[in-house]
């Protein structure tokens, strides 16, 4: 007796097996339908995001709707190119032979998305999976329930139900899904759950992509240049911290590293910018998301409970439990062994760590596990090179925050504890494909030395052949080389 979940998955497998997702025209029609879904439901999407996270339509467009539209459009324009086999060079020795690499869908894939960007993190991988010709089960996060319901109700109205399914539910549903066999699992979330996903995948030898998180630092080295650059730096830091879902983003700036002597300048600039963007205080807070739920709210409030941490607050700190709001908060040099400096914050609290010399930021970052992004505001080319070669992160962005997310030609993914695998643009297509090698050979000419019985002549022939020593081979064949 199959449960309805198992029946759904059996249907996905059947559809894939019958070639229902193979044709480029099917894939394009699905992508176009997805674009239609987004275009025709923009207001509902804004409403759901407002309900779940208090996101303003501009933030929702910038981080979710717009990103998705761009992604679908880009994929549609490139799909034919991506699907085409790529020729591989073959050495003369194999003549006549043809070699190529052909991308093929993996089969039935499972996508787990997260609650902070409930549309982008669900549909962007979906775009990749469909473009690569797979059938998909999408499991959105129940911590963003309005968005999850929207996806459950709306996707079946636009996409091929036999090939793309959405399942509502919480962690228990997730666990049950992980017991089954998939051809790929794509997971966005925390390292803790990432481990569970990979362990479950190991039972079936299912390849996984894990998009996790970490403490993404911002190194600030530009305050002593022109005032306008300092202002832009401040804007980009504020925009990179509280702009995306009030800091609840894997690529949000987690903490800032700055030289001692510039700390107060930075803090003043940040304060001014915060007030201009978000309002004077918690009562007049606007243009900013809220904390997703009580659990996360409590977690963040607890980070501030430590008296040494509370003492380091230099701006903000007020909370509104009813509205699930914490105002943008800046801390100056909280103790390095406090939880706020060892866990990924994922919220609107910004520690500023001061250093005697900005170069120390490299060792500081290396003392923690590899982040998803390192942001560095600097115009010193030598320092830039040092950051690139002496630190390791998924991405490095110089002199800005967040925008690397919009770059379709850059792979988006982590390294070490921030995850493995990548997507965006063609990388999405690749992550859901198997690159199959194909070699075509002719029956002629035949190379006798390939076959036993073995002789010294054959051994020498093959040695020369493997060195691609064509001249040597000719000499051997003409009798001018002795074995």
């Amino acid at each position: 007796m199959l449960s309805s979940m198992e029946k759904s998955i059996a249907e996905l497998r059947e559809t894939f097996k019958n070639g229902g997702t193979k044709s480029i025209s099917w894939r394009k029609s699905q992508l176009k339908a997805l674009l239609q879904l987004i275009n025709q439901n923009e207001d509902s999407i804004f409403k759901a995001l407002d309900q779940d996270l208090g996101k303003s339509p501009v933030e929702s467009y910038r981080d979710e709707v717009g990103v998705l539209k761009k992604s679908v459009t880009y994929t549609l324009s490139c799909l034919e190119k991506w699907v085409a086999p790529k020729k591989a060079e073959v050495p003369l020795l194999f003549f006549p032979a043809k070699a190529e690499v052909m991308p093929q869908p993996l089969g039935v894939v499972l996508i787990f998305s997260s609650w902070n960007f409930p549309f982008t993190l669900a549909l962007d991988p979906l775009i990749g999976a469909i473009s690569a010709g797979n059938t998909v089960l999408l499991k959105p996060s129940d911590l963003a329930p309005a968005c999850m319901s929207f996806l459950v109700e709306t996707i079946p109205k636009y996409l091929d139900n036999k090939a793309v399914k959405v399942l509502a539910g919480g962690a228990d549903i997730g666990e049950r899904l992980l017991q089954l066999k998939w051809d790929k699992i794509f997971f966005t979330g925390s390292p803790r759950v990432g481990r569970l996903v990979m362990a479950a995948a190991a039972k079936h030898l299912t390849p996984v992509t894990l998009e996790l998180g970490g403490k993404s630092p911002a190194i600030v080295d530009t305050l002593s240049t022109t005032p306008s650059k300092a202002k832009v730096t401040a804007k980009r830091i504020v925009g990179g911290k509280w702009g995306p879902c009030t800091g609840q983003a894997c690529i949000a700036i987690d903490y800032v590293l700055v030289e001692e002597k510039l700390a107060s300048t930075l803090i003043e600039l940040l304060k001014k910018t915060i007030k201009r963007f978000y309002g004077e205080n918690i009562k007049s807070l606007k243009n900013i998301s809220r904390i997703v739920n009580k659990h996360q709210f409590q977690r963040l409030v607890n980070l501030l409970k430590d008296p040494n941490v509370a003492d380091s607050i230099v701006y903000g700190g007020s909370v509104d439990e009813e509205k699930l709001v914490i105002e943008p908060t800046i801390l100056l040099d909280p103790p390095l062994d406090s939880e706020i400096m060892s866990e990924e914050i994922f919220g609107p609290l910004l520690p500023i760590i001061t250093l005697k010399n900005i170069e120390e930021s490299i060792d500081f970052i290396n003392s923690k596990s590899n982040p998803l992004v390192i942001y560095a505001f600097t115009e010193d080319d030598t320092f830039k090179k040092r950051i690139l070669s002496e630190t390791s992160s998924g991405t490095v962005t110089f002199n800005d925050s967040m925008v690397q997310f919009l770059c379709d030609s850059l792979p988006f993914g982590g390294v070490g504890q921030s995850g493995f695998g990548r997507y965006h643009g063609k990388y999405s297509f690749d992550t859901f494909s198997h690159e199959k090698s194909i070699m075509h050979r002719g029956f002629y000419p035949e190379i006798e030395p390939r076959y036993p019985p073995w002789t010294d002549f054959k051994l020498l022939f093959l040695k020369l052949a493997y060195q691609f020593d064509y001249f040597g081979l000719i000499l051997l064949l003409l009798g001018f080389k002795r074995s």
Binding site: Y61, G66, V67, A88, R195, K436, K463
Partner: protein
Amino acid sequence: MASEVEKKAVFDIDSAKEVVQELRASFVAGKTKDYEWRRTQLKAMLKMMDENEPQIVAALRDDLSKPELESSIHEIAMLKNSCKLALKKMKHWVMPEKAKTSLATFPSSAEIVSEPLGVVLVISAWNYPLLLSLDPVIGAIAAGNAIVLKPSEISPATASLLAKLVANYMDSSCIKVVEGAVPETTALLEQKWDKIMYTGNGRIGRIVMAAAAKHLTPVVLELGGKCPVIVDSGINLQVATRRIIAGKWGCNNGQACISPDYIITTKDYAVELVDSFKCELERFYGKNPLESKDLSRVVNSNHFARLLKLLDEGKVSSKIVYGGERDKSNLKIAPTILLDVPQDSLIMNEEIFGPLLPIITIDKVEDSFDLINSGTKPLAAYMFTNNKKLKEKFVEKVSAGGLVINDTTVHLAEPTLPFGGVGDSGMGAYHGKFSFDTFSHKKAVLYRSFAGDAPLRYPPYTNGKLRLLKALLGGSILGIIRALMGWSKA
């Protein structure tokens, strides 16, 4: 099945921890990142093989009775080529790759930088104990990592030779060989690695991946499967047969992950095919193949017993049409062909990895694709045909790590093709630049300037900004101009 390792101190969890700590210190100190260091190590590896060919051949003979030609060509020559390719191409591989930027991030420039992952673990297999140990190591070195190599205890002579040679020729503070069996491997798997590459079977592959999951360590699993060969009629049968024989018994006597496992042909063609095999097999290995020096032996008594179990199963033993002889004391089984074994027999439900070749017959060649796809995805699939349509169908329908048409196994020697499995045959790929890539992190880098700071990114959020954002993300210049003009009115 204890390995005959020389009596050393026990290698336990603490020893494993120490090894990793030492390598991590070397990595952090930047030793392995240094370009010259990588070149020196690769050159040292080449020298190591040049100066020790007879010892390597002897060790392989000890472990597998591998014929000298197979050792020289399939292991040593392949490795040397791999090393030379890395030496030649590394300067290109390490260069950052420029990435295009779009209007959405204008003005900016972007690139993808390759960086080493850190400290990696390579666990290799017993059948090509030199190649499967050092080929991944070449990639790991080229990419700038520190490495622990754990060779298989089932090929102990090669494992200890490797340990000795690597210690003598290469930088032990960055590249180490750890010998041992299950306890030592388990101790290693408890540690945190930046990548693990495992070559072997699916059962252990699952264990490796589960251990890696605890540390979120990415893995490459090079596993196996039943590599089918579809044989159509209307081909040069002699050439096809020889190529199948070369890929089967010529590759460690069928003990290779990409060896043809079984054949599918039409009922009409089967007899001709069997006759051709009989003829060519005798030509290659003589009337008494058990005595031929050109065949490896079965690696050990466990595998010998396993293969005999497959062969002696009641419903299968009557299907032998050639061979079947065995010599227990020398661990030899003659090249054996079986015709029409039942689908539910043991031999058709596990990877054979030995000198037994079942032939399954079907009515039409096209039926073979569904038959293959009904099983788990193999590492390789082969087809011999001159029919263009069939070739196209084969390529399109059969899912496997790699495909070869009108030959077997040669794609392994082609460094421009990624070598790896899919589904149960594994994940990830290597060879050539793919080896370098598999041991690298491709770091995305975006350079932005301070000019062009668009206010529309920041609050306060207004409708005008929304309009402009839509236009900008939509990428149309006209749309942007229109929105800008509209916005400046707002």
